[in-house]
Structures are given as C-alpha cells and as structure tokens.
C-alpha cells in the first residue's frame, strides 16, 4: 500500500515525541550549565604539572628534561630549564608554557614523562576573550597540587604515588648502597598500571 | 456618478497603450504583453456596457468577459509556447529577426 511506509515512520516519530516526555532513555538532553554529567575518571583535557607538598615552585616534579617538549606532536610545550648563577642547568623548569590553543590533548607528554610530573587535567571551561595570551598557560597556571591529581584521577594517582614511593625507596637504597652516586632517573618509566576491569 | 463614457475613454486609453507597446517594442514577449492589455481594454468595455445597459440578456457582458478571459489564457499559453520555440531556434526574441517562415 502506498503510504504505508510513511505512516510507519510517522508512528515512529510520534512514539519518540511522546517518549521524550516520560522516557529518560529517549530524552537524553543534559541542560549543561545547570546540570552536568559526572566526568569519567579517564577523561582528559589539557596537561597540568603536579607538585608535591604546598610550595608550587619547590614541589614541582618536573625536572625540565624536555622529553615532553620533544615528543609533543603539535609542539605546544615550551620549556626553559632553570640555571643557577653559574649557568648550570638545574632540574627545575624556569619557564614551562603550554599553548593550549595548539595542544590536542593527546596525552603523549604524560606517557613519555619519566617523572610523572605532567598529567591530564579535566578542566574544560577555558573559554576566553583573548585567544593569544589567555590560552598560553604558564608554569604557575599549570602547577596543581597532587591532591588535585588525586581528586580527578584517584585510581591512577594512587598507583603513581605508590610507584614513586617505591622508586624513592629504591633510590634511597641505591644511594645508601652506592654512596654518592648521583640519582639518575629510571631507564624506563613504568607504564601506568591500572587494575583490570 | 461616473458616466459610461469615462469607462470607455479609460478602455480606449488602455487599448492605445497596449497598441503602442505592441507596435513599438521589439521583444516578442513585450508585444504579447501589449496584446494582453488590448484584450483587457475590450473586457473593460464589456463590463462597462453590461453595467450601464443590461439589455435583454442580463448576464451577456459578464459571460463574454469570462469567455474572453479563458481565451486570453489559452492565447497566452500558445503565444508564449511559440515564442519559446522560436527562441530555441533563433536564440532571440527580437521580432525584427523573426521574418522568415522557414524553420
């Protein structure tokens, strides 16, 4: 019968029309600023720098090794290591900028960082009126406490903490055993271990 | 009250305008428009006379105009179809260049 398919289709849309009033499975809209979906734990947005303790400057785990700068595909990280008065390189970034207008949230910096110093943030409401200066995040913008890391990625952060503690312990043992051998970073950063789901 | 002659003069004017257009414009479509105007002038005459002098046949004027309108529609259809056909052939609607019966 001509028109049968059309009527079938109209029944379908009618079902959706009425369904949208009582069936939450059909009416999936979230009224964003008022309602928010809880973010997934794995959600990532832009990188931030983790610092331990209370002091933003001191506690930064970043040692300015520039691995992330090198590996970053869009090359949005700019690092200048700190130098002391003699011009000797310090294990601390003097400048650590991320241009998040270029960053593509790929998380490769996180993966390659041997020191677990850079992690992915979940902050996404970053809109700004000035796309040049306000989207270039500096060290102080990027530095966030470990607690914050725990807050947004609890599982991962716990694992990382455990790992770091183990490493520190190992390093202490090595230091104790090998005297004044300089502390060197572990050859391979262990992959993030996440419990099997 | 408007006298009958006023309508007749108006109709004559309209007729004259249509005639002038049909005589002076080069585009076949314009000529057709002029002819439409002339036809309508005639219609106006019919209605005016019908209104002022109903005569024995009460609806003759109206009927005539109705038929005239119908025929004008047919005339327009055929005329425009002819113009389009000629246009396809000569790629022009200029009447001056359509002077041959040969296709």
């Amino acid at each position: 019968m001509l028109g049968e398919g059309i009527i079938k289709g109209m029944v379908e849309t009618a079902r959706n029309f009425f369904g949208s009033y009582h069936d939450p499975a059909r009416f999936v809209t979230i009224q964003y600023p008022e309602q928010r979906v809880p973010l997934k734990e794995n959600n990532r947005n832009f990188p931030f720098l983790v610092f331990d303790g209370a002091d933003t400057e001191k506690g930064l785990r970043c040692v300015a090794c520039k691995i992330c700068e090198k590996e970053c595909p869009p090359q949005c990280i700019y690092i200048v290591p700190e130098r002391d008065a003699h011009g000797k390189l310090q294990k601390h970034p003097k400048i650590f900028d991320i241009d998040i207008s270029t960053c593509m949230s790929c998380q490769i910096c996180v993966e390659v960082c041997p020191f677990d110093a850079i992690k992915m943030d979940q902050e996404f409401e970053l809109s700004t009126g000035d796309r040049f200066s306000n989207l270039l995040l500096h060290k102080q913008d990027l530095a966030k406490p470990n607690d914050y890391y725990h807050k947004i990625h609890p599982t991962e952060a716990t694992l990382v903490d455990a790992q770091l503690a183990k490493e520190r312990q190992l390093a202490a043992q090595r230091k104790a055993g090998a005297g004044a051998a300089p502390a060197s970073p572990p050859k391979h950063a262990p992959e993030k271990l996440v419990p099997v789901g | 009250m408007i006298p009958l002659k006023a309508y007749l003069v108006l109709s004559a004017l309209l007729f004259g305008i249509g005639l002038a257009g049909a005589l002076s414009r080069r585009n076949a479509i314009m000529v057709l428009i002029g002819i439409e105007l002339m036809l309508n002038a005639a219609n106006l005459n019919f209605i005016a006379f019908w209104r002022f002098h109903p005569g024995t046949e009460p609806l003759a004027g109206v009927m005539f105009v109705l038929f005239s309108i119908a025929i004008a529609a047919g005339e327009a259809a055929v005329g425009l179809a002819l113009i389009i056909a000629i246009y396809r052939h000569y790629k022009t609607t200029n009447l001056d260049r359509m002077d041959s019966l040969k296709g």
């Binding site: - | 408007i2 006298p3 002659k5 105007l37 209104r51 309108i69 055929v78 389009i84 200029n94």
Partner: protein, 165 residues
C-alpha cells in the same frame, strides 16, 4: 466611488504605460500585473464580482506566471541591449497608436451614447453558474475544447525539438 474610480483608473493607465516603457522584461510583467489587478478592482467596483476574481485568478495566477516562465526560458534575450528607446520605428508605432487612440476617444466623446443609469445588475455566482450550464453551455464546451487544444498545442510547440519517440 468617484475617488476610487479615479485612483484605479490612474493605476491602470500608469501601470500600462510603465509596462510598455520599462526596459527590464520582468519589470514590465510586474507593471502589467498592477494594471490587471487594478482592472480587477474596477470590475469589482462595477459589481462584477465573479469576473473580478476570475481576472485575478487567471491573469495574476496563470498568465503572469506563464510570461515569467517564458522570460526565464528565453534568458539570453533579457539582457540584450534594448537599444535607443526613441528609434524611428518606435516613433512610428507610437504615432500610429496615438492616432488610433485619438480616433477612438474622439469618437467616444462625439458619440451620443445615452448616459445610462448604472442599474446594479444581479450577477450572483449562482446565476452565472446557472447560465453557464444552460444558455451558454455550447460556448462553454467550445471554450473547454479550445483550452484543451491550446494546452496540448502549447505543450507540443514548447516541447524540445529533439524529442524523437
């Protein structure tokens, strides 16, 4: 009533003049529509309701669209240079038309048509329908046949020539 007549008459004349004088074909059609719509208004004013509506329906709804389509289908010619308006042939045409109109108007004014009383003749739709189906049934059929023939003819004429079978 008088004012209405003069306004409408002015519109008719202006529309007609403009339709014949403007350069662009589409404008001419639009002016033609002004004239024809005013004419329809005049018919209404004269009490010929049915004819007035039929005038609008046929002219504005059909003839205008037909002309417009013809203009679109003969697109090239629209932009062709119109040439000087006041060419000799134009003058001749206008002269002849003026002569004819002058003769007509003069004869109308000179004639002794009785002024006539505008009796409101009853032209209800029902009357017209009745008449069409009885007294005028033969012309009606003839017009129907004519329109059919015209339609078929128009289609055949306008059909592209290369349609073989």
């Amino acid at each position: 009533m008088q004012a209405a007549f003069f306004i409408i008459a002015a519109l008719i004349v202006i529309g007609g003049l403009a339709a014949m004088l403007v350069r662009k074909l589409v404008h001419a059609v639009l002016w033609l529509m002004v004239t024809l719509a005013s004419l329809a208004a005049l018919f209404l004013l004269l009490g010929a309701q049915f004819v007035g509506f039929a005038q609008i329906l046929v002219y504005v709804g059909a003839v205008a669209i037909l002309i417009v389509f013809a203009i679109l289908l003969t697109r090239n010619s629209e932009w062709a240079k119109a040439g000087r308006l006041a060419s000799p042939s134009w003058l001749v045409g206008v002269g002849i038309a003026g002569l004819a109109t002058g003769c007509l108007i003069a004869s109308i004014l000179a004639s002794s048509i009785p002024p006539g009383v505008p009796v409101p003749p009853a032209a209800s739709v029902a009357d017209i329908g009745q008449k069409l189906m009885t007294e005028y049934v033969l012309p009606l059929e003839a017009v129907g046949l004519l329109l059919t023939a015209a339609m078929i003819g128009a289609v055949i004429i306008a059909m592209p020539e290369d349609k073989r079978g």
